[in-house]
Structure formats: structure tokens, C-alpha cells
Amino acid sequence: MTVLELDGELVRRARELAERAAAPVVDLARTHTTVSVERAVLRLAGLTGTDPVLGDGEVPWVNRVVDAVRDQVGLEHGVALPVWHALGGGGSLQELAEQVGAGTARFSIPADPEPARAAARAAVATGIARIDANRARRDELVALHGDPPRRPWIYLIVATGDIYEDIPQAQAAARAGADVIAVIRSTGQSLLDYVPEGATRTGYAGTYATGENFRLMRAALDDVGAELGRYVRLTNYASGLCMPEIAVLAGLERLDMMLNDAMYGILFRDINPRRTFVDQRFSRMVHARAGIIINTGEDNYLTTADAVDEAHTVTVSQLLNETLAHEAGLEDWQLGLGHAFEINPAVPESFRLELAHALLARGLFPDAPLKWMPPTKHMTGDVFGGYLLDGFFNLAGALTGQGILLVGMMTEAVVTPWLSDRDLALRNVRYVLEAAGNLHEDFAPPRGGFIDRRAHTVLTEAVQLLERIADHPQGLIQAIADGTFGITKRSPDGGKGLDGVARLAADAYNPAMELMERVDA
């Protein structure tokens, strides 16, 4: 594999600065909880279903219970103590939830927390055990059917909005060569402060992430994987206001990868930064435990910011995502750090600039399965030109040893992908990988040459930016407020979901945290 020899001192300094810049955020996350983190705890303990009486019956019991606890005793202790204390007299979580529905549940903080702690720990442990079993099952299936024969893995999205249209399309894509299927989400989901239930058919430009949709798609891909003799991975999105819960659902339904970025929700969904960082840490702990590969979202910055001018912000964000992921227990092989082929194709030497950026990421994160995103911003309705550009994107992926290749669609600027778009896109990938997949053997950007120089320029700019961020007492949170990423400014107290955040009290207890921290997977 072609590698650039990066300036070691610069790399070391970049990592050190990233850790410093992220420290305030880690601190924040360790000392706070959120409604969604607490709901995730209840989900791990097995609470499902919705309150049939409220609204159209869409509000999950976990929301009802957490809200009730918050109303009665506040969130700062976590829900585990009040809930399992309330269950002290026996009865199931489900029954308790119904009492909440009926307005008869009463919550309080027990004077002796031990019995409630123990009961909560035992309940949540069943969920963690299911996650562990899924992880083992994945290893088994991979051993049985085998992994994709080559890198990069081919990653395709389905996006009909209807899980029952998604399924055949995903299976068709797998048969046509996809190694990873991502079901993208309906436009509105990230701002919902609850996770919808059941199989859904009404998403816009994506399908709701629900436990049942996960289960259906997982089963369908297991079927097609057995048929093909190749384990087909399933991806969804742990982002938005319910990131921790969706992470749990992913673990419970054996998803294999999750989009999970430290800043995406803040920048692109205007979710409150504090809320995000707290939710983020918990969800990453779940992913670490579940053996899920996360995909970060640096590619998105390049849809709003210029891919040449702001290339270094991608590098900075990758370094931050890395340090935050490590802190949450993720290992290098789980870090699908994002970057993208988004340079304006009219820029002279655009392809070589892309190679330089891609090699920089490859060189900085040698053990991470980098997620290489296709052109989107400069795709136009000229589907022929788009198909060509996607081919060069595929080539860049092969030349620079990317781990996960998100397949570009010629209709990027037109519609969410059609069945035929996906099929044509896979043909494109197949041609490029089979015809030129080994071209990296002949690819040797010289030291001091165009590519080497460009990579070092970006790295240097990244270090300079990190210096500025690390120097600020609030670190990353301040940088976000300054519009550092994706030229989007988000203030620490703005955005959605801040009211769902609580500073932890001294006696706070979160059995999931405890269990996940204890046995590091």
C-alpha cells in the first residue's frame, strides 16, 4: 500500500493537541447525563413499547418513565435508583411504565441505594449480555461466511422511506456486490426526542431507525449473506437527540456500523453541543462494547465549506473524533473516520489534491478503516459527468487504501438513489477495482512532490488550528461556536435538547456505564 512518510514530530504534536482540545468535552460528558442516556438504560433493561393513550400512541414508555422521574425527583441521580427503588416491591418494568401512564407511579431516591443498584445492574446486565451475544454471533457468522474478499468494503445506502421497499433493494445491492448496507434515516428523525416504534413505511428521503426496522433488515441481510457466503454488514445512524438509545438498539439487533460523529448533530442539525457530547460518549461506549465500527462525519463539512481551503478542518476533526473515541473505549479498528472526495472538479489538479488528502488521512490513522465518501457537492444533473467523477473517486479510494468505500450515485444531485443507480454505481466500482485495484503498486508520489507537499501543508494547517483550539479553556466547544467546522457556528447554549441535560449528583448511578466500564470489550 502506498504511504506518505509524514513528519513524525508534526503527527505527535497534532495528537497531543487534539487530546488537550477534547479534554473539556470529556470532562463535560463524564459529569452529566441526558434524558436519552437514561432512556437507553431502560432500554437495556428491556423496557419497550409505547403509551397507547398519549397522542397517536407514538410516545415510548421509556420516554414516559424518564419524564416522570425527572418531574418527580430530577434527572441528576440517573433513573436507575428511583426506578428500581420503585420496583423494590416486585413487578416488572413494563408494569411500572403502565403505572406511569396511569399517573400512579411514585419515584424517590432510596436512602440505601444498594438494593436498587443491584436490581438495576442485574436488569441492565441482561441487555448487555444480549449485546455481547450479538457480538459473538457476528464473529461466528463472519467466520462461517467470511469477510469481503478485499478492501475497500463496498458501502451502499438505501433510502426509500419504506422498510419493505428498502429490504429488497438492500438484498439486490448485496447480491450485486455491496458489503455494507446503510439504511439512511427520514429527514425529521434526528430532531425527534424519542425513537419511533415498529416497522415503518412513511419516511422522507430515508427510513426511520426503529428497533423493529433494524431487526427486519438484519434478518434480511443475514438471509442474503448466507445465500452469498459473505457476511453483509448493516449500518444505521446513532445521531440526533436519541443517539444513546439508537446505539443500544443497534447493539441489541446486531448492527455492524453506526454513523456516530462527535459534532455532526451540532453542526448540521443544530442540536445543543452539551447534549451531543454527553450522548456521544455513552453511545460510543455502547458501540465499543458491541464491536460496532463507527463512521464519523467529516465529509459533511466539505458540503458547506470548501474542500481545499478547509481540508485541515477535516484532519482536525478526525483527530478529535479519534481521541474522543479512544476515551470511550473504541479501538482503532472501530474508527471509520470520515473524509470525502469533494474538491471542485474544475480546480486544476483536483484529483491529485484528493490523493494528497486521502493519503494524509491514511498516513495519520494507519489502523483505522477510513470511510471514504463520494462526491456530492459538485455532482450536478449531468449524470454522465457524475458517473465519471464517481469512477475517479473509486480510483482514488483504491490508490490510497481506503477501508470503506461509500458508493457514489450518478443521480446525487437529482433524487435519492434509484435501484438502477445503485446497480450502475456498483458496476462502476467493480470495473475500477478489478481493472486498476492494484495500481497502487505503480503509484509512488515522490517526496517533495506535489502530493507530498500538499499533504504536509494540510497537516501543518491542522496543527496550527489545533493550537488555537487547545489554547482556549473551553477547547472544542469554543471552536464550534467560532464556526471552525463546516463554516457553521453553534453556541454552547443554543440548539435543540439542552433541557434534556443534567449535571450528575454525587449519588448518581448508571448501571450501564458501570457495566461497560468494568469489562472493557
Binding site: A176, L191, V415, L419
Partner: protein
């Protein structure tokens, strides 16, 4: 006038589509049938391949029999002159004598702000500065995922002259639905006193304004100057007030 392949009047077009049938002669026959219904005659199925179990993708070339009648083409001719920022400012200043209040947002669950930002933000688009650059305009960009009631409320509160709304996601005609909802809500809340309603996005057909209940629709590639010029045309009185 007919499409042009390599000879005047040859009528040549390319088309591609997928039919939910497995590949084979029946599928090719079906593709030809569709091509004929589209007016392609003779039509050549020049490529087909199966997708998954029950689908076939086709590429068809051929000559369409339809004539294009240029005279019947209804073009939204710009009914107003394209003004420079200086002219826009001058018009507002001298003929309106107060700043023009513009409110922008992306409604529904659509989070694509780049389009509305291109029109409103200083940075602008295609070398033209956005409306924030216009001294005589007072611009507020509410960003994305704004609900219609919020927007109506903000428009009232700020006494907006014009509300500019962007819609980029079009799957299942979300953009059309959201625009109709917008128009309905403003009509209901403010009746005749509602601000000028302008929507935009890459997949809108500019001819649809009336149908959608808004005043103006902008499509793909709109520039800030076009929008500013329209606002002057629609909101600023022809003559200086006496």
C-alpha cells in the same frame, strides 16, 4: 423543431429506465412498448441487464416523433429588470423610504441551508453578494428545520415584507406539500396582509407559483441579484411616494 442527434430533424433521444420484469425477450418487448408510448419510433433497445431478481435496466435510443413548438413554450419571462445592488438600494431608499424586511428559512424537516444561505448570506452565490449585503434590506436567516407556525410567528413579530423559504428534499413531493402548508398557514393567519411569499430550491418548476399559492418560485441556479430585483419589483412602489 425536433431533437438533434447528428442531423437536423432526426429527433434522436436517449433514455434509460428500469422495468419490474426479469430480463429476456418479454422484457425487451415491454421496453420497446414503453418507448413507443413515449413516441420513440423506431426505438432501439441498445442495452439491458438484469438487476436482482425481477428487474431489468434498459438503455434505449431512437427518434421521437414529437415536434417541439417553440411558440407554445411558456417562459416565465422576467417581468422586471435585473438591478444592481446599488439600484436595488436606491429604489428601496427613495421609493419605500424604509428598509425592506426579509425573513429566510428552510421549513419542514429539510436541513439543506446551503441554498437559502447562497441567497441571503453576505458570501452570496456565483460571484454575487447575498441579500445581507444590501444596505437597505434587513435580513434574518432563521436557518433550517423551522416549523411553519414558528415562521408565521416570526414574520408577524418582525413585520416581514417578504418571507423566503427553501426546499431541497423532494422525495414524495415533500417540497410541494410543505409549500402548500406554508401558503395555507400564512393565508389563514394573516389573510391579505400576509408578506410576499417566495420559495426556492433546485427541483422546483418556476411556473408553479400560482398552483402552490405563493407569489414566486425560484429554481436551480438562482442568483441573489435575481431575487433582490424581484423583491423590488413586487414590493417597492413604482413611483416615489409624494
Amino acid at each position: 423543431m425536433r431533437p438533434y442527434g447528428d442531423t437536423t430533424g432526426d429527433g434522436m433521444v436517449q433514455t434509460s429506465f428500469t422495468l419490474p420484469v426479469p430480463p429476456g425477450p418479454r422484457a425487451e418487448g415491454a421496453a420497446l412498448q414503453l418507448a413507443h408510448k413515449m413516441g420513440i419510433e423506431p426505438a432501439m433497445v441498445v442495452h439491458s441487464h438484469g438487476i436482482g431478481e425481477g428487474f431489468t435496466f434498459f438503455v434505449v435510443y431512437g427518434s421521437v416523433k414529437h415536434l417541439v413548438d417553440l411558440d407554445a413554450v411558456h417562459v416565465e419571462v422576467r417581468a422586471y429588470p435585473l438591478l444592481s445592488p446599488g439600484e436595488v438600494n436606491a429604489a428601496i431608499k427613495t421609493r419605500m423610504r424604509r428598509s425592506l424586511v426579509v425573513l429566510g428559512a428552510c421549513i419542514g424537516t429539510d436541513a439543506h441551508t446551503v441554498g437559502i444561505d447562497a441567497i441571503l448570506n453576505l458570501k452570496g452565490f456565483a460571484g454575487e453578494k447575498g441579500l445581507e449585503y444590501y444596505r437597505e434590506m434587513q435580513v434574518a436567516n432563521l436557518g433550517a428545520q423551522v416549523s411553519v407556525p414558528e415562521l408565521v410567528h416570526a414574520a408577524r413579530a418582525r413585520r416581514a415584507d417578504a418571507v423566503l423559504v427553501s426546499q431541497v428534499v423532494t422525495q414524495k413531493d415533500a417540497h410541494l406539500r410543505n409549500t402548500r402548508e406554508l401558503a395555507g398557514a400564512f393565508r389563514e393567519a394573516m389573510g391579505e396582509a400576509r408578506p410576499l411569499l417566495v420559495v426556492g430550491g433546485p427541483r422546483f418548476d418556476p411556473a408553479m407559483a400560482a398552483e402552490l399559492g405563493v407569489d414566486k418560485v425560484f429554481g436551480r441556479g438562482t442568483t441573489p441579484g435575481e431575487v433582490a430585483s424581484y423583491l423590488v419589483h413586487a414590493l417597492v412602489p413604482e413611483e416615489e411616494p409624494l
